[in-house]
Assembly symmetry: C2
Homo-oligomer: 435 residues x 2
């Protein structure tokens, strides 16, 4: 049963901090194991990778069978339902369109004296996408991770996913191919992250690794940060729903359960000022729970991390949402547009009663890779700007430098950096003129 709590405004801050902090435990023993794997792969490359594949995944790999072939891709298409392929293609268009709105262009400005300043925006050259190989398989995540890289213009997009005796899930292969992946390798876990970060004889060294994974994968990503870039470390999924008395309890129960079924660590929170709605949601959750294929997971998540928080007003609910900074925030209130501007921290906002969260997971277009665990305070959805880099351009003429040389020299000398000052001075020494 979902618990109901009252939060006075005084202890909200502390409550939220504790709630978020308790969900982000780390494990030192994992770090040690992962550090070893990283070192081994950096030193012994393919040899280490194939040994780990045997050890952890029970599959014998070598440089000629680690990469998914054209034939394997064709085979995957035969195994995937036509209806799913159709939906993947439609979803792809929506996801692509939303990403295209985010493309940044290089720019230049011309200043006086012939000065040109600017910023060149370029795609990363090689990106790596990790796709987990557990029991739950999410082709939607494949689309959401690959498409932004593709729209950004990344030349080589490499996907990795753990090898399995019965082959890779065909829906994952098809989704990757539809999204525009360039190469797929059958490697997984921390050793796959190491291979992507350092490169091996077979696996290309990448500029950035994205995609969710278990604690070993997440730890490996954290440890290789700096060798390459990584996306934000994804925590368990979350939904918060702000609802007033006009909301539909059945819909709210269904939406809370849709997050709860992800993971026993998922959190589903309703914040409302309506006792009547709260009561209806409590019982409706119990009813709907019984029909779910993942009932045991949803039940545990609701029990451990589900909550209905009673507040005095919708304004207070908004304040609480800003403290939680939820991954997904539904505004199930009469006029969602009236409170939208007060929401400062949320990964994605779903407006009104016909924008259920799963619509965003699969289809609407905005990325479902979103900041979790309160990090929407400072992180954003995965997007094109995660797959670009910028280079500043400074082009001065002699006249322009002459104009500002005294300023630069004054600043450099004030910082005690005389060689900096000298680099400007020397360009205006008599003997260097008209050289």
């Amino acid at each position: 049963m979902i618990r109901k709590i009252n939060l006075s405004s005084e202890n909200q801050n502390e409550f939220v901090n504790k709630f978020l902090r308790n969900r982000s435990e780390e494990d030192d023993s994992v770090s040690m194991v992962v550090e070893n794997i990283l070192k081994e792969v950096e030193e012994n490359k393919d040899k280490a990778v194939f040994e780990y594949a045997k050890k952890f995944d029970g599959v014998t790999l070598n440089s000629s069978n680690v990469k998914v072939t054209k034939d394997e891709i064709d085979e995957a298409y035969k195994l995937v339902d036509k209806s799913l392929l159709d939906v993947i293609r439609k979803a792809k268009v929506n996801i692509e369109n939303f990403q295209k709105k985010q493309v940044e262009e290089s720019w230049y400005t011309e200043e006086k004296n012939g000065v040109i300043l600017g910023q060149i925006v370029r795609p990363l050259e090689i990106a790596g996408v990790y796709v987990p190989g557990g029991t739950a398989v999410y082709p939607s995540s494949v689309l959401m991770n690959i498409i932004p890289a593709k729209v950004a213009g990344v030349e080589r997009i490499i996907m990795v996913t753990p090898p399995k005796k019965d082959g890779i899930n065909p829906a994952v292969v098809v989704a990757a191919n539809e999204a525009g992946v360039d190469e797929i390798y059958k490697i997984g876990g921390a050793y796959a992250i190491a291979a992507l970060a350092y490169g091996t004889e077979t696996i290309p060294k990448v500029d950035k690794i994205v995609g969710p994974g278990n604690i070993y994968v997440a730890t490996a990503k954290k440890l290789v940060f700096g060798v390459c870039d990584i996306d934000a470390i994804a925590g368990p999924s979350e939904i918060m729903i702000i609802a007033d008395k006009t909301a539909n309890a059945d819909y709210i129960a269904a939406d809370l359960l849709s997050q709860a079924e992800h993971d026993i660590l998922a959190s589903a929170i309703l914040v409302t000022d309506s006792e009547e709605l709260a009561g209806a949601v409590v019982s409706e959750i119990e009813v709907q729970m019984n029909n779910l294929s993942r009932k045991s997971i949803a039940e545990k998540a609701i029990e451990d991390l589900g909550m209905i928080v009673m507040v005095d007003s919708i304004d207070e609910a908004v304040g609480l949402a800003n403290l939680f900074a939820p991954e997904h925030l539904e505004l199930a209130v009469e006029k969602p547009e009236e409170i939208l501007n007060c929401i400062k921290n949320a990964g994605a906002i779903f407006m009104g009663q016909y924008s259920p969260e799963p619509l965003g997971d699969y289809f609407a277009g905005p990325n479902h890779v979103l900041p979790t665990g309160g990090t929407a305070r400072f992180f954003s959805a995965l997007g094109v700007n995660d797959f670009i880099k910028k280079t500043s351009i400074i082009s001065y003429t002699k006249e322009a430098l002459d104009d500002v040389k005294d300023d630069v020299i004054t600043f450099a000398n004030a910082e005690g950096l005389t060689a900096h000052a000298n680099a400007v001075k020397i360009r205006f020494l008599e003997e260097n003129k008209e050289k």
Copy 2:
């Protein structure tokens, strides 16, 4: 003396990887010390902060003297040279203008059936800027770190810098005030990073920490990543100059030395196809070195990490630059604009002989906080987009959801997530219609 090497194209990749890797050593003993400090400050807040200030900085602090007062700021203005203040103000305008070009706007699109999608761009609420308190004091870095946050619209910009018995450097206080800092606290080292990440009774919890620091500061930033956001970890400074026979050896020697004087770990590399130029630069470095106030630092940096790399052509030099991905890249060639488009990886590019690197450090406008150690492959200069977050908006109408409901349900079922499917289905059940 700077060493001269030849690199055949076969071993360039390996050479560059080794060079970059050798410069990025980490220290496990530092991690343990820093982890303890973080834990102490998270638990005991102000009490721990003031104890560390006494222990590490020898200064007695309490909640009423830790914050720099209006009087202290006024006093700093009296101590700073009028000419420096003038230059700070001019530089500020240039830095601001360059940042303003990078501001991103929120956007919305209207699709068919009344669907609205969009992305809200918001500034972070609170940002922390770390300013080191060592012997070298850099007001220019204060400007470069604070101004992008200010232009992004961050409400509260908090600066921290180690307490000193004789007070904070006045140029740093003045630069911070001119840049628009909101509060300055006299705390430093790993304990200051902990205070910003977790918050204390006196120090506000921030959303992001930026700014350079020693190994303790850098390690602390890495460890709090996720509790708040951080900027890229800054390594020692680097310059690479690509020069052809038209380049001026005196200028090149001066520019190489301007980086070398920063730090004994700074790297200054010339890549050229002209033996004559190389020879002239070797001797000119020796001559100019003798006039530098920081000669001993520059000499050691040139000796250990300086290099002149001889190549067969400027094309080859460009290839090498892309492998190094240098923080600063000067194009001292006859027609820099002809090779600009081939440079894929560099933090900032300085075009032609009147764009010396120190011009960018102080004055031109582009940020001098740049990716180091080869990370320009995937990182960019500090900018407005480091101080914003984005929230996706999804707003569907009943008609619009009705139109796509079967697609969403198909996708959810294919992933085995029946509660996801149910969240859509339930909105179209007969008994819920017109509720």
